[in-house]
């Protein structure tokens, strides 16, 4: 079971109270971008075994969006953080480094 803590309201809830919103920190490629960049934006998603960053919504609770850093293999949650950011905050990255030394994910490490 996946347990997430919503950073917006503080509820520590079980997975079914939330809804996954796909990969986090995606950079949009729209009009003016190359076909390849647009294709990658739409379809080329990370699917790691291990450290992953996702968007989640507290859909049955406060209704707010947030980010989660977790391990897809063990369901360990390294932390949840605000939706209003384009990259994981340093304290979240530090927590991951403590648990998974040498981790990388897209351009983050």
């Amino acid at each position: 079971m996946l347990i997430l803590e919503c950073p917006c309201c503080g509820v520590r809830g079980e997975e079914t109270e939330f809804h996954g919103g796909g990969e986090a920190h995606i950079k949009r490629s729209g009009p003016g971008s190359s076909d390849e960049a647009f294709h990658d934006y739409l379809f080329a998603k990370e699917n790691p075994r291990g450290v992953h960053f996702e968007r989640w919504r507290h859909v049955y609770g406060c209704g707010k969006w947030f980010h989660a850093a977790r391990c897809t293999q063990t369901l360990e949650v390294f932390g949840t953080y605000s939706a209003q950011t384009t990259e994981p905050p340093q304290d979240i990255k530090d927590k991951i480094s403590a648990r998974r030394p040498g981790w990388t994910w897209r351009e983050f490490a």
């Binding site: 917006c8 309201c9 503080g10 509820v11 809830g13 079980e14 079914t16 109270e17 049955y60 609770g61 406060c62 209704g63 707010k64």
Partner: protein, 192 residues
């Protein structure tokens, strides 16, 4: 004007706990920004109630305000007072970023009464919430799901809970609560 009717017209059932549809209940959605200077004062002026802290509910007299999200609250009052309450809130909040709407007829409310440990168990069968007495007590407001539908609940006292949901799923919610509290289904999980 037509006569207002609550979703299940006060239907009730006595099992492990007594489940009853609460009848007509005034409910008002309030949205705005807590951080904005004067917002809480304006709400207090119109309702007589302080904005509750995160995940809590404050009640006084026949009124209550429940936290719903960082920028949303549910105000409860007698059904016949809701219209005037909305007008009062809109006047008090004029010029500010806000939303006030009478949602009384869009919601249903249920009361659950009985032994505290049993009542906690009935709720815990349906909602993914830690209902241990040390983790959840009166005064806390919890938005969550009940089986397949959204709902919110709070304890008004030990052994007394209220559940609110959308009116469109009132029958489903009532059936859920009745099944979860049916005779012979006791687990005894929260019994000391």
């Amino acid at each position: 004007m037509s006569e207002a009717q609550s979703a299940l017209r006060g239907t009730w059932h006595k099992g492990l706990v007594t489940v009853a549809e609460a009848g007509l209940q005034g409910m008002i959605t309030l949205r705005g920004q807590t951080g904005e200077a004067g917002f809480a004062d304006a709400v207090k002026q119109a309702t007589g109630l302080d904005l509750p802290d995160t995940r809590t509910i404050v009640a006084a007299d026949k009124r209550a305000i429940a936290w719903m999200s960082p920028d949303e609250w549910l105000l409860m009052c007698p059904y016949e007072d809701a219209h005037d309450m909305v007008a009062g809130l809109r006047a008090a909040l004029a010029g500010r970023h806000h939303l006030v709407e009478n949602v009384s007829d869009a919601r249903a409310m249920f009361t659950l009464d009985g032994d505290d440990a049993t009542l906690r168990e009935v709720l815990a069968k349906l909602a993914p919430v830690d209902l241990h007495p040390e983790r959840f007590g009166p005064g806390e407001m919890r938005r969550t799901r009940f089986a397949q539908v959204p709902g919110a609940f709070w304890l008004t006292a030990p052994g007394a809970a209220r559940v609110v949901c959308f009116r469109s799923v009132a029958q489903y919610m009532y059936d859920l609560l009745c099944v979860a509290s049916s005779e012979g289904s006791a687990v005894g999980y929260f019994k000391p």
